[in-house]
Symmetry: C2
Subunit: 395 residues, 2 copies
């Protein structure tokens, strides 16, 4: 069993993972500065699921499941704080989820771009130094995103590929083509992490994750243990926004052609993958990349799935495309390798169809909370303008 | 004629370029926060050439050549300051040289890595937003480095290449493999700049520059106009350190095998290239990459050249390799495309041999200044340890 430090334990994946790793007998320590809660509030929204504060969460995890999770409040930008946590705990594994994860939030204006790049790039840099100093043999599980790769016209390997060019060959990092200031931070982080592994012998699993969807895992057996579910334009993914729209009876709003393809994975399967990474560390000094995805859908196709899943629940909604606020390929090739996790034993357990039914049922219980923040769903941030504008109204 | 804003006008290239562009009739505005001077002082050194302060420089440029260069003191991290300068001047061209340029400085410890990534990545991000807001049609000439590419086993194109992979093709950014926290910032910057061009239609020339060497150009016809010349382990390049060592009669100290190859270009030719970029802007929205190099040498071979150039001047020095403090390939393929600047008319005018003679003669006049800081030449920063150590003594 390992001692696992989860940076960003109060987030969607962080909290779920803390419960899941605890259930497998790992010792979990968490840190967070609660900026995700503040940032979602700033964009005029909240979690559809009414999440408890961290103290109640920890108390409930203990009383219901006997999990002893410890916690420290602070930012990765505060190296003194990081050093203290790392120096006291000497974790075997560090799972880094303490990043600002919203592309639209990062594109809102200069302040948000600056905040995002500062928090993510410099926070990760601090974490690398803290590991080097206090836990050089620990394993960094770093959350990247499939968005690092963009949508090239060739297959996307897992991080590296053999290049043949003018009659010579080399094994090289696959070119990254990120699509927002947020996605850029993930690319910068990947490069910084890879370098730290090379020169200092740290080891890391860099996870290029698809869009994660879902509201629960087996551990979440009480509302006091719910993880967050964002549905606003900034922090809600397309699938979350569709589900929220379906629940409050508004048309689903794919952007642009709707033929943009994305890779997806259910929350429970994401937990399975992260656990495989945690429990199967790379060799010391190794930097490895996992593409963590299950299914691929176009964003219009996804809306149709949500619409279909809503029907048996009495949710009958239309689909109405909006002008794409982003700068992205509307029609493109998309083929993604994802063998590394399979080789470690990953077997997806939930399809999108299975999970949508569970999600919609869960969200129906919190319909009023979604309805209260309905204005936060429509896109207000455009990539071209780089500033927040009064939103086009939904319908 | 253009209005050119030079960020980092007080530096080695910045000051030389300010004079050169003025001589061609361009209107030059400069900004700087003088951190380069402070950082070199921090590592226990100074410029071998006794450089005047900015006010004397500007006064002398005016009285000797009639150049009217305006100046504002401040940092690219201060967006209010940047906005004021940009909003007042609306430049046609922005030349961005305001970065912390030393790999060893960035590798010294956490504080220096953090400082470097903060200054370079976030400073450049601010600059992009200031351009978008106040001068969206201006052309950003951004100094990158050949070090962004590392030393792959295939030819290095100018920024982009055609990839064939599993039977499909795409035109993609060439993979970057930077070798220090400083070099990483240049890669991060390149990605941020490319993105800004794509989504906002800014235009930029991203210059992957080889090692620049030389002490003067035609404009530097008086000591009051000298540009800086660093020879310490952090801010001095191999060629500068060799020249400084030759002048004070100490053995030249290549690192490791000495077979590491690097690309070089003389200061006067670098000025020619930057001027070509300034005077031949890309199309609006275009992001183009120039590899700005002339000759390629191994670092031991370079030491032999310096030794040879010193002989007629009575400088008879040995060569003594030191353990390589860096993490780099000791033996590698190195082939670099550099056609883009040639197509704009670039013709190198100075070979290494020509220039070494001029440099050594210049430096002999400042022998005492080099001797006074001789302890700053030997390497103290190792990539592996990531912290400054008492240096191995020279000899």
């Amino acid at each position: 069993m390992s001692k696992v430090l989860i940076c960003g334990i109060d987030g969607y994946l962080g909290w779920t993972l803390a419960l899941h790793l605890s259930s497998r007998g790992h010792e979990v320590i968490g840190l967070d500065n609660f900026e995700r809660r503040k940032n979602v509030e700033e964009v005029g929204s909240w979690s559809a699921t009414p999440i408890s504060d961290i103290n109640e969460r920890l108390k409930s995890a203990k009383s219901r499941h006997g999990y002893e999770i410890s916690f420290a409040e602070g930012s990765t930008l505060d190296y003194g704080f990081l050093s203290k946590v790392m120096g006291k705990s000497h974790p075997d594994v560090v799972v880094h989820l303490a990043e600002q994860p919203s592309a639209p939030f990062s594109m809102a204006d200069r302040e948000h771009a600056f905040y995002t790049q500062q928090n993510n790039v410099l926070g990760t840099l601090n974490l690398l130094f803290a590991m080097k100093e206090y836990a050089p043999k620990s394993h960094l599980v770093k959350l990247g995103t499939m968005g690092e790769y963009g949508t090239p016209n060739i297959a996307i390997p897992e991080g590296f590929f053999e290049v043949e060019y003018r009659g010579r060959k080399d094994w090289m990092p696959f070119p990254r083509q990120p699509g927002s200031f947020y996605h850029l931070t993930k690319v910068h982080d990947s490069a910084n992490v890879m370098f730290a592994c090379k020169v200092w012998g740290l080891s890391s699993t860099d996870i290029m994750q698809g869009v994660v969807y879902g509201t629960r895992t087996d551990d979440i057996d009480d509302d006091s243990l719910l993880t967050r579910f964002d549905f606003d334009e900034a922090f809600g993914t397309a699938i979350n926004r569709y589900c929220a729209q379906a629940v409050i009876g508004y048309p689903l709003t794919p952007y642009g052609s709707g033929r943009q393809k994305r890779a997806f994975i259910a929350l429970v399967d994401s937990m399975q993958c992260l656990t495989l990474a945690v429990e199967n560390p790379p060799k010391q000094g190794e930097y490895r990349v996992f593409n963590q995805i299950d299914e691929v859908y176009g964003v219009y196709e996804l809306a149709e799935q949500v619409k279909r899943a809503g029907r048996p629940l009495g949710l009958d909604v239309g689909i109405q495309a909006l002008a794409d606020p982003r700068f992205e390929s509307q029609e493109h090739f998309y083929e993604v390798d994802h063998d590394n996790l399979r080789k470690l034993g990953f077997r997806p357990t939930h399809t999108l169809e299975d999970e949508l039914d569970i999600m919609l049922r869960d969200l129906l219980r919190f319909k009023d909370r979604i309805d209260a923040k309905r204005d936060a769903i429509a896109p207000r941030t455009t990539w071209k303008d780089g500033k927040s504008k009064p939103g086009r109204r939904m319908v």
